[in-house]
Symmetry: C2
Subunit: 256 residues, 2 copies
């Protein structure tokens, strides 16, 4: 198995290194990751400028590729032949913060996996639900081990088409994690606030600020699972059609 | 009704002007759009830098706001109080190219509407299926009229929560459009190719090139509708859970 490991925090991120090291136990790993942080960058396809790729050495001495493109560009480049060989599985992460509810539409971690899915390659996004006010380096070991467990299962089963797995891991040692739950997308509660400031020349500028999002910890959801100390595995479909609303909109009799 | 009109091609784009002028027939319009082109930019939330907003004058002499943020940032800023008043409906477009199949995950036009939907505001994305090799200015009138028809219906009915409308319009005069179809997301066929070049100093760079995507014109899909000369209206859900795969993944017995 040849794994493509990427992330949205950049090639120097400790979560990427922990993930690459653990997935290497299952097969060959190539790391292609952005050369800078792309958090909340969405699903990007960079076509209006060329992309650079350079070889870099990770902290453990292994080789990796850093690109000035977005996470999804890193996956697209690799799928289109940058590496000169086939990819069997895309693993994206480990993001230091959970990607829950509507986060999946913004998340660079998840949209990197989307790009793999669109190319019909089994793809997994992994995020750690680190505590909001954590200081010092995070421990990614348990999340990396969870990633390995999930990726092993993906290798043994047939991934349905058009679907990726969005995995969120509670911030606990592996043996304290309660278990794994297949979940649905829950409801994030965003607490963004507009912060207006003036620059030294009196011209306004705006921050999207406010507190970190919370969520409704409903049973059966990603947020509920994490809240109970479980790993959340949400199958995410790239067919976004709201099938249960088709009839309702038919009844609107729009247009001629 | 107070409409927020935005796009991903930038505040100077003719599709934006045509849309704003037509929606103005239904109520008050405020234009907040990016100051540059953000095509295929995905769903962005800019939090690591402040955003600027400046007042500009559109070609028809009306006032608008241009921001250095992404399309979804323009919507977020407006939702969070930039304008000092409530928005009743977000209309994003008119994109000169169709947003079909998996395009919806990349599209700045669609992700602007996503941002409205996440704030529980009825939101619509409008794209024109302009011919691939069209030269000269595009005629956005029919697409603008279609937008008005759809927006009027949205005003008279209750939009389901967590859903936006992705509208694609064939490049035909309004009276030659065959009708309106409620559709599901079809299958795009991407034909991206990696183009490797060397700069004058012999260092490689890469373009994501290749031909424009095509699609499978299946009956009932967005691509099928456009192909038959119909307007395609696809309800897009922001709950991406692959509900029909939940049982399948349960049966994998992942982890403990």
């Amino acid at each position: 198995m040849h794994f493509l490991v990427t992330n949205d925090d950049g090639v120097d991120a400790p979560g990427l290194l922990a993930l690459a090291q653990e997935i290497r136990k299952l097969g060959r790993v190539t790391v292609v990751a952005p050369d800078k942080n792309w958090s909340a960058s969405g699903h990007v396809k960079t076509m209006n400028r060329p992309l650079r790729v350079k070889e870099v050495i990770l902290e453990d001495g292994t080789k990796a590729f850093a690109s000035d493109g977005a996470p999804s560009d890193c996956v697209a480049l690799s799928m289109l032949g940058l590496l000169g060989e086939k990819i069997d599985c895309v693993v994206s992460g480990i993001n230091p913060n959970a990607n829950l509810g509507h986060d999946v539409t913004y998340s660079g971690t998840v949209t990197a996996a989307m790009e793999g899915t669109i190319s019909n390659i089994p793809s997994i996004a992994i995020s750690l639900d680190a505590p909001e006010f954590h200081t010092g380096p995070l421990d990614y070991l348990a999340a990396a081990q969870v990633a390995r467990v999930v990726v092993e299962k993906v290798g043994k089963n047939k991934m349905p088409g058009n679907v990726l797995l969005n995995v969120n891991v509670p911030y606990l040692p592996f043996n304290e994690i309660k278990g794994f739950r297949i979940t649905r997308q829950g409801l994030r509660v965003y607490r963004d606030e507009l912060v207006r400031r003036e620059d030294p020349r009196g011209r306004p500028y705006y921050w999207i600020g406010g507190d970190a999002p919370t969520g409704v910890p409903e049973e059966g959801t990603d947020i509920g699972a994490l809240n109970g100390g479980f790993v959340s595995i949400t199958p995410i479909s790239l067919d976004l059609t709201a099938y249960d609303c088709l009839e309702q909109f038919q009844s609107w009799n729009i247009g001629k």
